[in-house]
């Protein structure tokens, strides 16, 4: 294999046609990792032996005429908060490296491998997922393959970097306040944050149970749908998973925009970003025929409520570790977790009550429109090490403000597809396509329409 890497969809087709073996695909990915990762720093663990053994098993099964699944031979990697059998689940931290190795893979890893995919390793991330930058005090920053002087975004920074560098066509991330959508925006990828409670979180290290989601990042909408469909399914071991049937999205992708009412989010989502963020939304809106503007009520307050819940639940989760080993945290994370210890319980209860109020108001909007467009980030990828952003003439701290547009959406668990746009010759920036709960299919359909029309593109992988 040579040239641009293949998309997941193209790999599956090539294996089915007998043009490629799983071993050749996996060796190609491992070669790309060897060639690039010293610079990109996306991987923290590469499980090459396991991956090659798995590829050989897939090839042997196919040689026997067995069906090996819809993701046959597709290499993938996971943010290192997912359990990988035999490795301690580090979650971006130094402290967790002392944990016992995971006895088995996390649920979503098992689902993908059951569908024929091949795990290549664990990916760099912001410590304990409390991050929007992709920087990490212990493992170094993930670098943005679009320009290595820039951030990959976080906290799923290694996931964004590994896919944008073409090392793997598919990566898993987690998204509590935007950690799939921010790196998707900064690295120029498609990312799916499903509805809260859709995909099992079993076998992943938590951050904020009230807000944690898991999902895929990829170079095309079809690859997102292919992997998302394979990961759906009930898991009795995740107490937060909602009882939903498997609802495949891949058959829906080419249905187009017929009957979809699409609006642009105004108010909070039209303020506070660099002009390029709004330009990207305008391009998507024009292509999707979205001329209406809707106001998501109290979105800034929703962001604030997510902020309070995050700080309090995060501090509560890590209190024992703060007590025993405070010096071993990433300083940026430790300071916020210690600050979170002082949050009164009443504030958290109030934020949770507000969450219910807000959800009811946003659901009313979905009686009028099926999809809402909003910027994914207020700016393109900042430089590594950058600490502030200048937004509307104001200098603001970078870390919390990269999530101003993602937090009010994940706060009530809405499914979102982040799509990459290129408003000019500079770096990409993402747009969120926001759908009602359980309608990932609608957001993916609109994303596919933008991709088909060349409005949204990743540009890293060969489609076939």
């Amino acid at each position: 294999m040579s040239g641009a890497p293949l998309s997941a969809t193209a790999i599956v087709a090539a294996l089915r046609a007998g043009r490629l073996s799983a071993r050749a695909v996996v060796e190609d990915s491992l070669g790309r990792i060897r060639a690039q990762d010293a610079t990109i720093n996306a991987f923290t663990d590469v499980v090459a032996e396991r991956a090659l053994a798995r590829a050989d098993a897939l090839d042997a099964a196919r040689a026997r005429g067995e069906e090996t699944g819809p993701l046959s031979g597709v290499p993938f990697a996971v943010k290192n908060l997912f359990d990988i059998a035999g490795l301690p689940t580090r979650a971006g931290s130094l402290i967790n490296r002392g944990r016992a190795p995971a006895a088995r893979d996390g649920f979503l890893v098992r689902r993908l491998e059951a569908a024929g995919a091949v795990l290549l390793g664990g990916l760099n991330m912001g410590e304990y997922a409390y991050d929007f930058t992709g920087e990490n005090a212990h493992d170094g920053p993930s670098r943005n393959p679009r320009d290595i002087a820039h951030m990959a975004g976080g906290s799923s920074g290694g996931s964004g970097a590994a896919v944008a560098a073409g090392m793997v066509p598919l990566a898993l991330g987690s998204d509590t306040n935007g950690s799939i959508r921010v790196p998707s925006s900064l690295c120029g990828l498609f990312g799916l944050k499903p509805t809260y409670g859709r995909l099992s979180r079993e076998g992943s290290f938590p951050f904020v149970s009230s807000l944690d989601h898991l999902g895929p990042m990829a170079g095309s909408v079809a690859d997102l749908a292919l992997s998302y469909d394979a990961m759906q399914g009930p898991d009795a071991e995740d107490p937060m998973q909602a009882p939903r049937p498997i609802e495949p999205t891949l058959p829906e992708l080419e249905k187009g925009l017929g009957g979809l009412r699409i609006a642009v989010a105004g108010g909070h989502f039209a303020r506070g970003g660099e002009p390029v963020a709004q330009q990207a939304v305008a391009l998507a809106a024009q292509a999707l025929g979205a001329s209406r503007v809707v106001d998501i009520p109290e979105a800034a307050r929703a962001r604030a409520a997510a902020y309070v819940i995050t700080a309090a639940e995060g501090a509560a989760l890590h209190a024992e570790r703060l007590r025993a080993r405070p010096q071993d945290f990433d300083p940026d994370v430790r300071d916020r977790l210690i600050g979170g210890l002082a949050i009164p319980a009443g504030w958290v209860a109030r934020a949770q009550r507000f969450r219910r109020w807000y959800q009811a108001r946003v659901m009313a909007l979905f009686q009028e429109v099926e999809l809402i467009l909003a910027p994914a980030t207020p700016a393109r990828a900042p430089l590594l090490g950058q600490k502030t952003l200048v937004l509307e003439g104001q200098t603001v701290p970078l870390r919390p403000n990269l999530g101003i547009y993602t937090q009010p959406v994940s706060f009530i668990g809405l499914p979102v597809v982040a799509v990459p746009l290129w408003p000019d010759a500079g770096l990409p920036i993402g747009v969120q396509i926001i759908a009602p709960p359980w309608r990932e299919d609608l957001a993916l359909r609109a994303a596919r329409a933008l991709e088909r029309d060349g409005v949204a593109r990743c540009g890293v992988f060969q489609a076939g």
């Binding site: 007590r323 405070p326 300071d335 949050i343 109030r350 959800q359 659901m363 709960p437």
Partner: protein, 71 residues
Amino acid sequence: MTEPLPPVTEEEARAAVALAARLAGVPLREEWQAAAATSYLATVAAARLVLDFPLEDEAEYAPVFRPVFRA
């Protein structure tokens, strides 16, 4: 309408964080205190937005948050 909540000074934030750390048994080094207090003040500002918003007493939160949508 109730009166606006009083402002919190940096000194008060430092004291609140120091007490919370002590209650949690977290050793708080001198050099960490300013950043932890700054972080706490950012959360205070966010919490003000939430606390200032009127909610009915009957507005309960769900023990398990499950998004609902009926088309």
